[in-house]
Symmetry: C2
Subunit: 282 residues, 2 copies
């Protein structure tokens, strides 16, 4: 797009060509919102939220992120902002056996995380016209890939298998749509540059049982015998299927994933191998 | 209830026995939330919101009130708060011809005001358990009565009729549930003292066409000839019917209105007469 890019956050980014502005969005009282407005950004991608594995589902900090997001939106529009993409979640939808589809599946979240994202979503949708804002809401499904934090499925499976430790799993019959982080980022950038309005699922469209994802990872690591399906109990509140309709993403946005699940998992394992090599070398 | 009562706000209240704490909730950055927490209130009624006649429906300030409400909720729970009543609105519901009913009528607001109230509502509902909070959500319908601001239906009709000026109205076929402000306040207090959870409509249960309400007021003022129904066009977005089911309020809370519509309008006119007498005397 040939844009001047600013990244706002607590942790500096070292991406070439990106101006980093240090701000703790969550500290709504002390954050310098006028400085954010003064950037006079035309476009906004809002991807900041609590994401601590496990904890994020029910943490009261989700409420604080709604307040922080409203401050960010206010600063952005005061600065003349015209177009925004908000990163939402598949957890806003009423989960069920079929494909989750924008404008068809009801927003009936089962978690505080999903409720807070959906609440912000509804407010943005209602405020867009009075704020003269063009917006899209990206329902992000299950991103994975290089840089993933420990405590999430693939990072844990890969690291344990690489260390030669047993990998205890549930039966893994739950179906999930995983999308490689680079594909997710590309889709969000393309969405930002488009004039598509409203909800768009960001997903691969290739939902699989978790056991298949785990097996692919263990096979590539070369330690399939370490996987112990059924060693952990299936949590009754864990939904059987979270699968995305990608019609809008594909047909209206013209987006195609670059990574198959197999290639994406392989690239992720490659990244972990390099991390380990760095650790051994240092 | 025999409670120590604190009122938080920008404008001092002179109610005997009430401690006033000056705070601008909307100035979330500078408001002293620790001072709010330090009150260590057990109970909270949150009735603050933008209410400027006309403007409140679509003002972006509705978003700021959501952020302010989240800060207030945080301060209240940090201070050990146990039970809260939030004043919501009939504008959260999907408006339609039947009675609007808690847990049956979908929350599908048509306005930014309704969307923001509903967004907060959903967040409070989802956060109550993690916050260990008992809460009720009061869907307030159309309050009227002494002290009403100019720019609202009854205050304008009464004042114009008392001044002998023509009162231009729409056809006034729209049905609305009006509740006297004292009845609304009593219902909210009783709700706070109860352990009822979730949504409760705060309404009279006696919905009437607006033309009937206007006629009652003009008759009591003694100037029915000043009313000109049809002088103003009916706005197409104005819903035909906003009427409340009061089953929960009546049967589960055991609440009965003290004012009939006729008695409530009469009391309101009496208040305006006193205001005018004061003005003339001063």
């Amino acid at each position: 797009m040939g844009c001047e890019v600013h990244a706002l956050g607590r942790t500096p980014v070292a991406t070439p060509g990106v101006t980093f502005d240090r701000i703790d969005l969550l500290d709504t009282a002390r954050a310098d919102w006028n400085r954010v407005a003064a950037i006079e950004a035309d476009f906004l991608v809002h991807a900041a939220w609590i994401a601590e594995p496990g904890a994020f589902w029910a943490s009261p900090q989700n409420l604080e992120w709604v307040a922080a997001s409203l401050k960010l939106l206010d600063a952005f529009t005061r600065g003349g902002g015209r177009r925004a993409v908000f990163v939402g979640t598949c957890a806003e939808y009423k989960w069920g056996p079929g494909l989750l589809e924008e404008d068809a599946t009801p927003l009936e979240p089962s978690t505080l995380y999903g409720s807070c994202k959906a609440a912000l979503h509804r407010m943005v949708a209602a405020a867009a016209k009075p704020l003269d804002l063009s917006y899209a809401w990206a329902h992000l499904f299950f991103p994975y890939g290089p840089g993933e934090k420990p405590g999430r499925l693939l990072s844990d499976v890969i690291r344990r298998a690489m260390r030669g430790e047993p990998v205890d799993c549930t039966e893994g019959r739950q179906i999930r749509d995983f999308i490689h982080v680079q594909d997710a980022a590309n889709a969000i950038c393309r969405l930002l540059a488009s004039d598509l309005e409203g909800s768009v699922n960001i997903a691969s469209g290739d939902a699989r049982p978790i056991r298949e994802v785990v097996r692919i990872a263990a096979d590539i690591v070369g330690r399939p015998e370490l996987i112990r399906f059924g060693a952990l109990p299936t949590r009754p509140e864990d939904p059987a299927c979270i699968a995305a309709s990608v019609g809008r993403l594909r047909d209206e946005l013209g987006f195609r994933s670059q990574y198959t699940l197999e290639a994406g998992v392989e690239a992720t394992i490659e990244w972990w191998r390099k991390q380990n090599a760095h650790l051994r070398a240092s």
